[in-house]
């Protein structure tokens, strides 16, 4: 489903060059739930951003499905992300000025969908995460766990094949974290969604199919 080959990411400033990722090759199968672990600054999020086409590697090749992605334009990348990928972030990144329903509808805005279809898909997604009674709330009126569930609903509203989650439980207590993890496991099991999750939490990582460990930008497991 996702194929990374010899990925390198170098950050350059005037005086220093930092190798964030060093020759990473990784295959994620369709329907797999993969977790990525490693100490802070080891390149986990960078790797996830590259998989999500939010960042370009300095070297190497990224294929998603059958699509080679390196030479896609800004518009093609945007379209590809919209159709295939869903993102969940540690700090939720909900738009506080919009109600829950509008937040969840966001990916659908960039597709040819009618307002009615958008509402229907967004409501279904919110039902899946158990928040269909909060659609008129604003994010600031919700708890951390609820916000992350809204973020998950937003990620799945467009029914993407792949979900990329960057420390989705990182800002939550263990009970809330487990709730979120359970939702992700169900998405993977029931809908067959491929999930790649970056985490610091060994327990969470153990619930996934496979664990990849990074250290100083290199894959060690």
């Amino acid at each position: 489903m996702i194929r990374l080959q010899n990925i390198e990411k170098v950050y350059r400033t005037d005086t220093i060059e930092t190798l964030a990722l060093n020759s990473i090759s990784l295959d994620v199968a369709k329907g797999e739930f993969l977790s990525i672990m490693g100490p802070s600054g080891c390149g986990k999020s960078t790797l996830l951003n590259i998989m999500g086409l939010l960042d370009a590697p300095s070297k190497g090749d990224v294929r998603i499905g059958e699509q080679a992605t390196l030479h896609l334009s800004d518009k093609q990348l945007a379209h590809f992300r919209n159709q295939k990928l869903g993102f969940i972030f540690q700090s939720y990144h909900l738009i506080n000025d919009l109600q829950v329903l509008d937040n969840v509808e966001l990916p659908l805005l960039y597709r040819n969908t009618t307002a009615k279809e958008r509402k229907q898909l967004a409501t279904e997604a919110l039902e899946k995460v158990g928040l269909s009674n909060r659609i008129k709330h604003f994010p600031t009126q919700l708890s951390g766990g609820q916000r992350q569930r809204v973020a998950i609903a937003r990620a799945i509203a467009g029914r993407p094949e792949i979900i990329l989650a960057d420390e989705p439980t990182g800002n939550l207590d263990s009970a809330m974290g487990n709730e979120i993890m359970e939702i992700l496991i169900q998405l993977n099991k029931v809908d067959g969604t491929t999930i790649v999750m970056v985490t610091h939490d060994e327990n969470m990582a153990n619930k996934t199919h496979r664990l990849v460990r990074l250290f100083d930008g290199t894959q060690v497991q």
Partner: protein, 408 residues
């Protein structure tokens, strides 16, 4: 999509009330000023009372004589216009009339300033003054040098007070008694070519209208049979003027034009650049400078707002918004803001114009917000929205997704 943009635009405006206030104040204040200015220009240049046939009229308002050491420029004389402009073949009709001049008169020991103007009988045919009572003086009265006068409604009120009819009564100006033959609707002084308090037959003019000098105190309107004849008349007059013999050896060139109303109205006497160019440049520069400050302010505020919204930009990009879509969204948001400012500006303009009219800064100049003014206002709004939105939107769209998401 638009509904979503609208929601977020309103939410952002409500979130930052102070910035919103500054932005809206800047836009609405600028627009109010521009609307008042355009209402003024529209009324001064656009109002076609009483020269309703303006679109097929040409105006002769200047006579310039140039010599090696001399240069004189003023209005033409009656005899010049009568003799030369009167000989043109193409116009249907011509009227000759003087500029307005001032004098004083006393009613019950109260001083009244009176502006008077001499006209011919054609004046009342070509120009469509609205007679509130009575009628204009006739060619016969003019030939007989009768001391008759058409007066303005304001003059009637000031001189005679609130009485129903004054036709047949006498009005004194410059120690001469004139019999009132009609009362016409007022004109503002800004219609300087046609404005006056009393209109008198030129044949009773105290100065000698038969004087053969080229320069004098008169103007003329040439009425064409159709709009198509205007350029013909213009050229015919140009040709005629070029053949007019020099008045004296002091001069070697005579300049006089038959121009459209607007060109004549803003005639500066400069042969190289028409008054229209000057006026347009002046108005354009004023509008540009006046708009520059709020636009820069808005650009600045917009850039600040972008930084605040970098997380939103990152999320939108991550979920499929292309840079172009984001530019579009931001411009739409900005246009919503400027249109809001526009609506406030419009309301302020209506209030301001009401007070300007009430205070009567310029007598009889009733300023209104009409369709043209409204259209200009709307256009300025959109221009504003685009101008202040494009650069920040472009900058915003170039934000890297990862950087944008990290910024929160």
């Amino acid at each position: 999509m638009l509904k979503n943009y609208f929601k977020i635009a309103i939410a952002v405006l409500r979130r930052r009330k102070f910035f919103t206030f500054i932005s809206l104040f800047g836009i609405s204040f600028t627009l109010t000023t521009l609307i008042i200015l355009s209402a003024f220009i529209d009324r001064v240049i656009g109002d076609d009372y009483p020269d309703k046939k303006r679109d097929r009229s040409l105006y002769i308002v200047r006579m310039e004589e140039i010599g090696k050491d001399n240069h004189s420029s003023t209005t033409p004389s009656f005899s010049f216009l009568d003799r030369y402009a009167g000989s043109l073949k193409t116009p249907e009709k011509m009227t000759i009339f003087s500029r307005y001049n001032g004098t004083n008169t006393y009613v019950n020991n109260k001083k009244i300033a009176i502006n008077y103007k001499y006209t011919d009988a054609n004046y009342w045919d070509i120009l469509e003054y609205q007679f509130l009572e009575g009628k204009p003086f006739t060619q016969q009265q003019l030939d007989n040098q009768e001391k008759v006068a058409v007066i303005s409604a304001d003059m009637k009120k000031e001189y005679f007070g609130d009485i129903p009819s004054v036709v047949g009564k006498y009005i004194e100006a410059d120690n001469v008694q004139y019999r009132v033959s009609g009362v016409v609707k007022n004109l503002p002084v800004t219609s300087y070519m046609l404005y006056s308090d009393i209109y008198l037959p030129y044949t009773i003019s105290k100065s000698n209208y038969k004087d053969k000098a080229y320069r004098g105190d008169y103007m003329a309107i040439l009425l064409a049979r159709s709009k198509g004849d205007l350029s013909k008349i213009h050229d015919e007059y140009e040709q005629l003027v070029s053949k007019v013999p020099m008045e004296s050896t002091e001069f070697n060139q005579i300049i006089s034009h038959a121009n459209s109303y607007v060109a004549s109205y803003v005639d500066t006497g400069n042969e190289k650049k028409s008054g229209v160019v000057y006026v347009l440049t002046a108005i354009g520069s004023f509008v540009f400078l006046f708009m520059l400050l709020p636009t820069l302010n808005l650009v600045n505020i917009n850039i600040t707002r972008i930084m605040e919204r970098s997380s939103e930009i990152g999320v939108r990009k991550a979920f499929g918004a292309s840079s172009r879509t984001l530019v579009y969204q931001f411009i739409v948001e900005n246009i919503i803001l400027t249109l809001l400012g526009g609506i406030i500006g419009l309301i302020l303009s209506v209030i301001a114009l009401y007070f300007i009219n009430e205070l009567n800064f310029i007598a009889n100049l009733e300023l209104t917000v009409n369709f043209t003014v409204l259209f200009c206002g709307l256009l300025v709004c959109l221009f504003f929205g685009l101008l202040s939105g494009v650069y920040p939107a472009w900058r915003m769209s170039k934000l890297n997704v990862v950087t944008a998401l990290k910024a929160q």
